[in-house]
C-alpha cells in the first residue's frame, strides 16, 4: 500500500493505492490517526487505486471516524471501487461513513 497526502485549497486528501491488509494497516493507522490527532477536517480519503481491503483496514477507518467524531471533524471516503463498496455495504458501514463519488464531489460538499 502507498499513501499520498496532498492539499486541495487547504483541504487534505489522502490517496491510497494497493492492498490494505493486516500487514499494511498499522502504517495506515499511524498516518490516519496522526491527521485525526491534528484535528484535520475535512479529511478526504481517496480509494480509487485501492485493490484490496480486509477487516483490519475497515477497522482502521472506523477508528479514524470515531476520532473525528470526538471533535466534530469530518472523514469523507471517495471513489470506492465496487468490490470494496460491497464490503462497506455488507458490514452496514455505508450508512455510517460519509461517502462521495469523487474527490471533487467531496471537496464541493
Amino acid at each position: 500500500m502507498k499513501i499520498e497526502i496532498s492539499d486541495h485549497k487547504g483541504k487534505k486528501v489522502m490517496a491510497l493505492s494497493g492492498e490494505i491488509d493486516m500487514h499494511e494497516s498499522p502504517y495506515l493507522r499511524k498516518e490516519l490517526m496522526a491527521l485525526v490527532g491534528k484535528k484535520t477536517t475535512p479529511l478526504v480519503v481517496d480509494f480509487q487505486a485501492v485493490s484490496y481491503i480486509d477487516s483490519s483496514g475497515i477497522a482502521t477507518f472506523v477508528e479514524g471516524l470515531k476520532g473525528m467524531m470526538a471533535f466534530g471533524g469530518k472523514l469523507q471516503l471517495v471513489s470506492i471501487p465496487a468490490g470494496i463498496m460491497e464490503i462497506f455495504s455488507f458490514s452496514k458501514l455505508d450508512k455510517v461513513f460519509e461517502i462521495h463519488g469523487s474527490v471533487d464531489d467531496a471537496l464541493n460538499s
Binding site: D21, M22, H23, Y52, D54, V62, K66, G83
Partner: protein
C-alpha cells in the same frame, strides 16, 4: 451454519488427495501470498468471479485470526492452508499449532453496533457454507471451510 466435524456432507470425510497445500510463517507479510494462491485455486474450482473475491477475503481473515488469536501475534510459527477442488465445490482447511480455539467464543459483532473489529467472522461465514473446527485435532486448530457450488439461479 456450523456443522459438526463428522457431518460435513452427511457422510464420510473427504480425503485431501489431489489437494494443494501451502505452509507459511505466521507473519502478516505472507498473507498476500495466501491470497494469490486462494484466488487461483478458487478459479480452478470454477467459482464465479465475485465469489473468488469473497473467498480470497475470507481465507485472509481466517489466517489473520490464527496470527492474532492462536499465535497471539507470534510471527515465527507456521500456518498450513490446504485447498481442494471437490465435486460439490471448494474446500479450504487451515491448520495451526497454537492455542486451542474455543468455538463457542467465536462470534462476530452485531453489525449494527459500529466499532472497530468483529467483522472477520462475518466475512468468512458469508463466503463459506461450512465453518467448523476439527475437535479431534490434538495440538492446535484445524478450521475447515467449504463453499458449495450453486445452481444457476441460486446465490
Amino acid at each position: 451454519m456450523t456443522l459438526p466435524w463428522w457431518n460435513w456432507h452427511g457422510t464420510a470425510l473427504p480425503d485431501m488427495k489431489g489437494a494443494v497445500s501451502i505452509t507459511i510463517p505466521s507473519h502478516p507479510k505472507y498473507l498476500s501470498v495466501v491470497r494469490a494462491l486462494t484466488s487461483r485455486m478458487a478459479e480452478l474450482a470454477d467459482m464465479p468471479g465475485p465469489e473468488v473475491d469473497k473467498i480470497r477475503l475470507a481465507v485472509d481473515e481466517a489466517c489473520s485470526n490464527v496470527i492474532k488469536y492462536a499465535y497471539k501475534g507470534d510471527t515465527g510459527r507456521k500456518i498450513v492452508v490446504k485447498f481442494r477442488v471437490i465435486r460439490t465445490g471448494f474446500e479450504v482447511v487451515i491448520e495451526d499449532t497454537g492455542e486451542k480455539t474455543d468455538p463457542s467464543f467465536i462470534a462476530g459483532r452485531d453489525l449494527d453496533d459500529v466499532r472497530p473489529g468483529g467483522l472477520g467472522i462475518h466475512l468468512i461465514k458469508r463466503a463459506f457454507d461450512v465453518f467448523g473446527f476439527d475437535e479431534k485435532k490434538k495440538k492446535g486448530n484445524r478450521l475447515r471451510l467449504i463453499r458449495y457450488k450453486r445452481g444457476n439461479n441460486e446465490n
